[in-house]
């Protein structure tokens, strides 16, 4: 079973239709009770600075959070920005994993494919960006 850190990264970075498809497949077959409707709040971002390796707060980031219960298991969806639908879908998916629903076993291959697509897309964008990499030539003076 894919762990939360990896699966949330894939679901947020890839096309959000994947999270929607997963969530809808659960809604159709299980009683999903909304505990906390999508709402906005803040996450304080803690950073390590690289001069003395100490910690400080750079500031807050706006997030949307939702909570859903399935089979007595509460799932949480959190995402940067104002994204009500995605937060709700993430909460349903998180609850599905916590409740060990059989559907989650079938998601692995789709998640892995989506992860590869994200990597390919980013690697392509980075290659495009590398056109701005400086190639220095040392001058004879």
């Amino acid at each position: 079973m894919m762990k939360r850190r990896k699966r949330t990264q894939i679901l947020i970075q890839s096309d959000h239709r994947l999270a929607k498809d997963f969530a809808e497949s659960i809604i159709q077959n299980y009683n999903c009770q909304e505990i906390v409707a999508p709402h906005y709040g803040l996450t304080m971002v803690k950073m390590r600075e690289s001069a003395k390796n100490s910690l400080f707060y750079i500031g807050e980031v706006l997030v949307t959070e939702a909570k859903v219960e399935i089979n007595n298991q509460i799932g949480i969806g959190i995402v940067v920005g104002m994204q009500d639908e995605l937060a709700r879908h993430l909460a349903i998916i998180d609850a599905a994993y916590k409740a060990n629903l059989p559907e989650t076993m079938e998601w692995n291959s789709q998640l892995q494919r989506a992860e590869q697509q994200v990597i390919n897309k980013r690697a392509k964008e980075q290659a495009e960006l590398f056109e701005t990499k400086v190639n220095f030539e040392t001058m004879d003076v």
Binding site: I12, S50, G59, V79
Partner: protein, 371 residues
């Protein structure tokens, strides 16, 4: 003249607020929030950084509502922030995890991973482009098609690359001191008032949310001689940092069970500052220290200036205002500075009458003495 207590003005205030709306919409042009989001990125970055709230959408809305006034937009964002609950604290973000889109060094031409210019105005002519007055969507679409065709020919990399820090390379050579990981819980100036001497965490928090102009001016003052820091920029990097949060109530906490919640764009600067230190033989020798600067969005001038001020404040012994943490930290906040200055235009009738009365009394007394 005695004191006169006054009331009223409600109708005038209501009419003034109506007038404000009238002035904003009378030319019958509507600036869409999406247009601001797409075309005013630098302004959005300034507002997010100074308000200490990362939300491009809210920043764009604030800019629209404030009609482009930065101080008003930051004020609106800070006010809105105060209405929102703080739901989570992130796990520690390490900037090595940045997906870099720009990264340069003024110290070395050959840095591991290379110098990546990304999108920058550094090498543009500062001439007004009058063609933008009649910008044509069809022309833009054609330009985009041509550009994307050109990009399509570029082969993807084998994987996503993450860049090492320039300073790590120098630390390996023993040219910079290695600091142990300091995991002391940071102070939070939004929860506790700033007190002096300020901790390093409080100083960095105040500097990163400082007003761009104020931070830049004080950094510049230090360079010009009202300070003792003249750095070489070791590395400027701009890119996206991934944010993770721990589950709020699961017993088993491990990295793999954290939530990834998205990314934030930041500019980070490490400035190299030569300092003279005494070695074990009590001889003076040259060493390098690092000034650290970071801010939300792409704002390189602010981040560099912050790195200068960070280094200044690490050396409070110097007799310059830029090394005085009370002077620096208490005067760079946008809402505090603009709020205090602008309150001067609000009614001060009673206090001013009191001052006037005092001056009149003094003058009356003065004339008596001369007579």
């Amino acid at each position: 003249m005695g004191y006169v207590a006054v009331k009223g003005g409600t109708n005038a205030i209501e009419a003034s607020i109506e007038r404000l709306k009238y002035d904003r919409i009378k030319d019958e042009e509507i600036l869409e929030v999406n247009t601001i989001l797409a075309t005013m990125k630098a302004m959005i970055d300034h507002v997010m950084s100074e308000s200490s709230l990362y939300s491009p959408l809210l920043a764009a809305l604030a800019i629209k509502q404030a009609e482009g006034s930065m101080e008003e937009a930051v004020f609106l964002m800070r006010a809105h922030r105060s209405t929102l609950p703080r739901l989570y604290y992130s796990q520690t973000v390490e900037s090595e995890s940045m997906l870099v889109e720009r990264r340069i060094s003024a110290s070395f031409k050959d840095i591991p991973g290379g110098q990546l210019l990304g999108a920058t105005r550094d090498y543009t002519h500062r001439l007004l482009d009058f063609e933008l007055i009649d910008e044509d969507q069809n022309h833009n679409e054609q330009w985009l098609r041509d550009y994307k065709d050109k990009l399509a020919e570029i082969k993807a990399l084998d994987g996503v690359q993450y860049f090492p820090k320039v300073v790590d390379y120098l630390r390996e050579e023993g040219l910079f001191k290695r600091h142990e990981m300091d995991n002391e819980k940071p102070d939070d100036i939004t929860k506790q008032s700033l007190h002096f001497p300020a901790s390093r965490s409080a100083r960095l928090q105040v500097l990163t949310r400082g007003q761009t102009g104020a931070v830049t001016s004080l950094g510049y003052a230090s360079l010009r001689g009202y300070g003792q820091v003249h750095p070489t920029v070791g590395e400027v990097r701009v890119g996206d940092l991934p944010i993770y949060v721990a589950h709020p109530n699961e017993m088993e906490q491990n990295e793999e069970n954290e939530f990834y919640i998205g990314e934030i764009k930041v500019t980070e600067v490490e400035s190299f500052v030569p300092v003279t230190v005494k070695n074990e033989q009590n001889e003076s020798e040259l060493e390098f220290e690092i000034g650290y600067g970071i801010c939300y969005g792409q704002n390189e001038t602010k981040a560099i200036a912050m790195s200068i001020l960070d280094q200044c404040l690490e050396h409070p012994e110097a007799e310059f205002p830029t090394h005085d943490e009370e002077f620096v930290l208490l005067h760079i906040d946008s809402v505090e500075a603009t709020g205090f200055i602008s309150h001067l235009k609000l009614p001060h009738y009673v206090t001013f009458q009191s001052k006037l009365d005092s001056v009149r009394q003094v003058k009356k007394g003065g004339f008596k003495d001369e007579n």
